[in-house]
């Protein structure tokens, strides 16, 4: 009976009912259907509060705010100018600029969508002006923005840490090597496409101009150093590093770059707060829903089914990843994590998969969902920001998507890609 409610939940989800309320609805129906003592009405809101009443989650609004400040305060533009001075002479340099800028920005902002908007707005018109195809102009922004939630700090990693009770710092570190592999491959794809289509390069920039661009961007470049260095050397906890990032971005945006006025600040803070609430409400709704998952024993059914196929950790991870890639076709990454991780985490533990590797692989997999059709959120965001047709962007994103899948398989088959760096953290 309770397993049927899980199916009803999926149905509610697919016909377009609010994701959080779908979880609450199925949990409530589950409570009604459960024989035995009547459950107190206070249980539902109590388990919702428990879903978000965690100090570790305080970093989510702070990193979202830091990212907003960075994007609106002129820090992102300085990074674009700096990357342009460094790699402008390469063929198809604006593609490289997008990847490099996003790689640096990812050190502060954990949101792929915010990064796509921030880099897409200036770079897509510039690429179109220089004769890049509209599909490629969009696809390269999508690929660059994908790095945001994989490199630390990463909001999906924080959510995973919360669900699985793992160290968020170790999870952050687990994303570093896959992100470097992704960025390196994306740069190679840019080079190949640019050479094949003879995309233009920019005039070479002398050393003095490069130094000047680096100087202008130094405030922005220092931000990931402060955040990641502060955590790595034990000066800051992850949550404190998020607050420091907010204060630093605030000072730099106001005093140094003068990109924001005092009047704009409340609106910017409000947007960050509302975005936070949208994410965290899903975690709150997952509180009663996880009761349903536990009571229906659907996780045991999933575990038994997959274990009947294989108990080899690599094979199990591959099966989980195929499942998540399919889920990624219909559900956005964060809801998918919140809905399916309670089913999958015990499976990982039972077949002996390192929980940090499991987390990194799951996050990487679900983030890839941001760039593949039909609901790849980044495809829609970039098409809308750059006023591009969706079809060409979907087509041109395929080489980047192909490389992302290769990196995903590598992280499954070679666990040290995700587990080596976290073991270096004491």
């Amino acid at each position: 009976m309770l397993a049927l409610l899980f199916v009803a939940f999926l149905l509610a989800l697919l016909i377009g009912f609010d994701v959080g309320f779908s979880m609450i609805l199925s949990a409530w129906l589950g409570i009604l259907a459960k024989p035995g003592d009547v459950i107190d009405t206070a249980m539902m809101p109590l388990s919702m509060i428990a879903g978000v009443d965690s100090y570790a989650l305080v970093q989510v609004p702070l990193f979202i705010l830091a990212g907003e400040l960075m994007n609106r305060g002129g820090l992102t533009m300085r990074l674009i100018e700096w990357a342009m001075a460094l790699v402008g002479r390469l063929k198809g340099s604006l593609g490289h600029v997008s990847i490099i800028t996003n790689f640096v920005m990812a050190g502060v902002s954990g949101s792929a969508v915010a990064d796509a908007v921030a880099t897409g707005k200036p770079l897509i018109p510039a690429m179109r002006k220089e004769g890049y195809g509209e599909g490629f102009a969009g696809a390269v922004i999508v690929a660059g923005a994908l790095l945001g939630p994989i490199l630390p700090p990463s909001i999906p990693m924080v959510v995973y840490a919360q669900i699985s009770s793992q160290s968020v710092v170790k999870l952050f570190m687990a994303g570093v090597v896959p992100a470097i592999l992704l960025a390196a491959g994306f740069l190679v794809v840019c080079s190949i496409v640019a050479r094949y289509r003879s995309y233009p390069s920019r005039p070479p920039v002398d050393v003095r101009a490069k130094l000047r661009a680096t100087g202008n961007a130094s405030w922005a470049l220092m931000m990931p150093v402060i955040v990641i260095g502060g955590i790595r050397f034990g000066l800051l906890t992850v949550t404190e590093s998020a607050a420091v990032a907010v204060l630093y971005a605030l000072v730099v945006s106001f005093v140094v770059y003068r990109g924001i006025t005092l009047r704009q600040l409340p609106k910017l803070i409000f947007h960050a707060g509302r975005s936070t609430a949208i994410v965290l409400f899903l975690l709150a709704a997952a509180g009663p829903f996880s009761w349903l998952v536990a009571e229906s024993q659907i996780n045991q059914t999933v575990i038994d089914t997959i274990r009947s196929i294989s108990t080899n950790p690599i094979v199990v991870l591959l099966i989980v990843n195929v499942f998540l890639l399919l889920i990624g076709c219909i559900v956005e990454p964060l809801p998918a994590m919140i809905i399916f991780l309670p089913l999958l985490i015990p499976l990982g533990a039972q077949v002996g998969i390192d929980p940090i590797q499991f987390g990194a692989v799951v996050v990487l997999n679900l983030m890839i969902g941001l760039m593949h059709p039909p609901i790849g959120l980044l495809l829609f965001v970039v098409s809308s920001v750059g006023k591009l047709r969706l079809g060409p962007v979907m087509w041109e994103v395929l080489p980047f998507l192909g490389w992302a899948l290769v990196v995903l398989v590598l992280t499954i088959v070679f666990p040290p890609i995700t587990t080596w760096l976290p073991t270096q953290i004491k």
Binding site: G16, A42, I49, V58, L247, F270, V331
Partner: protein, 166 residues
């Protein structure tokens, strides 16, 4: 009538927006004070993490209420484009009605939680466990209002004015 309702709701929107801003600022301030307390001077705040958690609970629920008002809540819109407008409209009405039913369960539940929590102190703070529960209660009441009005106005064949950002 609809215009007057829109103006009244706008005042409420502004109030909630400023509340969200205040909660965000308080989170930055609390965590920053904790850093200062740990490394530099004693700020005298016994349990900053507890205050931050209370602010986060309030932010989550109040912020979500305003997201529901602006129809920004997360949903899978995979089949939307394939449905005729009449079916989409009917589904929107059913979803709002379903949400109202769930909120009608959450409102008394969260009120009961306030009553249970009012005698339990949160360690190191002057707050009781009723304070975070009050955030859920207030947000559920707001959502009840927003979704209820939206449903009534839709049933009357019109659309409730959306929030104007200030």
């Amino acid at each position: 009538m609809l215009h007057a309702l829109g103006r009244a709701l706008h005042l409420l929107d502004v109030l909630i927006e400023w509340m969200v801003v205040a909660l965000m600022v308080s989170l930055v301030a609390i965590v920053s004070l904790q850093f200062i307390d740990r490394h530099f001077i004693d700020t005298g705040i016994a349990a900053p993490d507890q205050y931050a958690r209370v602010a986060l609970v309030w932010l989550t629920f109040i912020g979500f209420a305003i997201a529901v008002r602006a129809a920004l809540n997360v949903r899978v819109d995979l089949i939307d484009a394939h449905l005729p407008p009449r079916v989409r409209h009917l589904l929107a009405l059913i979803f709002d009605a379903l949400m109202l039913v769930l909120l009608a369960i959450l409102v008394p539940g969260s009120w009961r939680l306030i009553e249970i929590g009012k005698d339990q102190m949160l360690l190191g703070t002057g707050f009781t466990a009723a304070v975070p529960a009050a955030g859920v209660f207030a947000a559920c009441l707001l959502m009840l209002l927003f979704v209820g009005l939206r449903l009534i106005v839709r049933l009357l064949g019109s659309e409730l004015p959306g929030p104007k950002e200030t």
